[in-house]
């Protein structure tokens, strides 16, 4: 089942290069964000997705524009992949009024309702129940869209995870739960927080089809996501996809990473989804050096533009402090 008829598979490698390019955009954008953070342009918490790019890109490429997306506070990549303008995202992180949430949310709360992007949520597990509600509305309104909810393995320990799973299965609503298992809930390893570490088994308890996939492999994620979406579209039922992945960077900027061994990080870096996928494309002769350099140059230009847009943005007047508490 074709999700996006405009993007035809072609032997020229256009589609493959697009996937690589999206992952690279996320990586470079976040590296720039980290830099701007150290310069105090961005404040609050900044959670980087570096290392996990294949998950957002692989899953979101399988969605249609009408499908809803809810994310965690580590959601810059998802927002970029959904098509939010990098400048608008950067401006949000700067706290400028030109940001996608008018600067009120910051890095953890990127929203674009027109793009069905219902935000980064920073209460772990809280948005799973909302996702079920959005899917319930789709069902009641007889719409054919899917609600896709990303969350970390930390959320799978929350009561709301289990409540949401049960409600979704009970009500038979079209929701795709995507667990981005990066092995650490902040600084505490999976083995210290979950009795059952095969997270996909938790979905089975609710009768939800559940699959685990190598989240470092863009092709594997893409395939699994497309299968999941096909299932949901056909059945109207929920689906649970666990993407086993790893974040290369610290939990947030101010994190000494006392909880994991540097060697472990280096091991995982060998599975870098971008480097590996680039190699695959090279081997398959789907990308040339010139094409790769072009992509890099394009991304650099786009990010420079984003920073410049954010820099030029404006601060909301203090007199408007009380806005957005109630509808006007």
């Amino acid at each position: 089942m074709k999700r996006n008829p405009s993007r035809k598979k072609s032997s020229s490698g256009e589609e493959e290069r697009a996937l690589l390019s999206k992952m690279m955009l996320i990586r470079k954008f976040e590296e720039k964000a980290a830099e701007q953070y150290t310069k105090e342009k961005i404040r609050g918490f900044l959670h980087l997705y570096i290392g996990e790019e294949a998950v957002a890109v692989g899953v979101i490429q399988a969605l249609s524009e009408e499908d809803n997306i809810l994310c965690t506070y580590r959601e810059h990549g998802h927002a970029l992949m959904r098509g939010l303008n990098p400048g608008v995202i950067m401006a949000e992180m700067y706290g400028k009024v030109e940001g996608c949430s008018k600067g009120r949310g910051g890095s953890m709360h990127l929203f674009d309702v027109d793009k069905h992007f219902f935000g980064g949520s920073a209460i772990v597990g809280g948005h799973l129940a909302m996702a079920v509600g959005l899917a319930l509305a789709s069902k009641k309104q007889k719409k054919n869209n899917v609600t896709c909810c990303f969350f970390g393995e930390g959320a799978a320990a929350e009561g709301e995870f289990h409540e949401a799973m049960n409600l979704a299965a009970l009500w038979k609503v079209p929701v795709l739960f995507v667990c981005e298992n990066n092995l650490y809930a902040m600084g505490t390893a999976l083995k210290y927080t979950h009795a059952m570490q095969d997270l996909e088994k938790k979905g089975a308890a609710y009768g939800i089809p559940s699959v685990a996939v190598d989240g470092m492999d863009i092709i594997a994620v893409k395939k699994a996501a497309e299968e999941a979406i096909n299932y949901i579209k056909e059945s109207g039922m929920p689906y649970f996809l666990v993407c086993n992945t790893y974040r290369f960077r610290a939990h947030s900027m101010f994190d000494a990473e006392l909880y994991r061994d540097k060697k472990e990080v280096e091991e995982w870096k060998k599975k870098d989804p971008i480097i590996n996928y680039h190699q695959v494309l090279k081997r398959k002769r789907l990308i040339t050096k010139v094409q790769y350099d072009q992509i890099e140059a394009q991304i650099k230009e786009e990010i420079d533009k984003a920073v410049s847009f954010a820099e030029k943005g404006s601060w909301e007047a203090v007199e408007d402090l009380g806005k957005f508490v109630y509808s006007e």
């Binding site: 150290t38 610290a250 900027m253 101010f254 000494a256």
Partner: protein
Amino acid sequence: MIAFKMPSLGADMEAGTLVEWRKSVGDQISHGDIIADVETQKGLIEIEVFDDGIIERFMVEEGAKVPVGTVLAMIRPVDEKPQKLEVSEAPEEIKKKSVEQAHQTNAKRLKITPLAKRMATDNKIDYGKLKGTGPEGEIVKKDVEKAIEELAVSGTSPKVSPIEKQPIPSSTSQINVPSQKSIRAAVAAAMTKSKREIPHYYLEKKIDMSKSLDWLRKTNEDRPIQKRLLSAVLFIKAVASSIEEVPEINGVWEDELVIKNEINIGFVLSLRGGGIIVPAIKNADLKSIDEIMEWLNEIIPRARAFKLRSSDLSEATITLTSIGEGGADKVFGIIYPPQIAIIGLGNVIDEAIVENGMVGIRPVLHATLAGDHRATDGLVGSRFLDALNKNLQNPEEL
């Protein structure tokens, strides 16, 4: 040249200790390289660079703890000759809401409801004389209404007298709230004008303070702490009495000398944060020692809290500056235009005084007068200081 600074890794990070340079001077570095290890309150963190170039020099040695934003190293982009430091940007200032200080009140211990008090004030009823009929004896609305009625019927009433003087200021336009900065500017302008336009002459007289201080001590012995007199009160009173004897010294220069009948003495108060403010005690000659004391008690805190009314600050006809205990021995003032004289009283100190051919140790006040030579001559000023001396020798008569 690029200044590589101690990065901010969180709003709660203020400083970091540079534990180890992981690169050396002359090393080629590129975006993403780890350049140093920095110890923070959250532990050891590897610090990366976001630029490409060559390390020109280190600005901070290993082991140093430096605040966020401190330049750690200079990095020269590969294709650039050494030039100049990047100027660090000033942090955005955060606006802070200023909180206005609460008003001081010195109402009597009297139970009256806010409504009744407001009504009494609006109708000029002296509520201090009303009898309260509220559950706890407080004056309530009903009591004030009754008083208003009685007032309307009889014009005056034995129980009620309308307040004639000192209406409570109701509009904020009467409240002058100068800032520290504006005070400095005002002092500067007035003093410059004075020194430019007024030809000052200066006189000084030593005054034996033994009798005055004795009188003050004895008077204060019988008084409760809060009623005790300050020497400033005596000075104000003595100056007022001396002006009565030499009225030419009390006036303003308006292209000619205009002698004033009212004796309004401007009293110089220094402010804690610097600057001076000069509230005037009006009709000082008509006020008793106790009334002057009350005025001082009331005005000093108000002045220091910048809560003076504009009327407090205008209308002075002469100025008195008193250095007070522990200060300079004498002070020669600069006249506050358009006034024509300023009296300066130094710190009272023990000095050897020759009296009847004998040397004695006495508390001495150096009193000075700066006069406007356009308006008066030294003779007038001299007469004034003589009068002041005489008055301070006879404090009981003040």
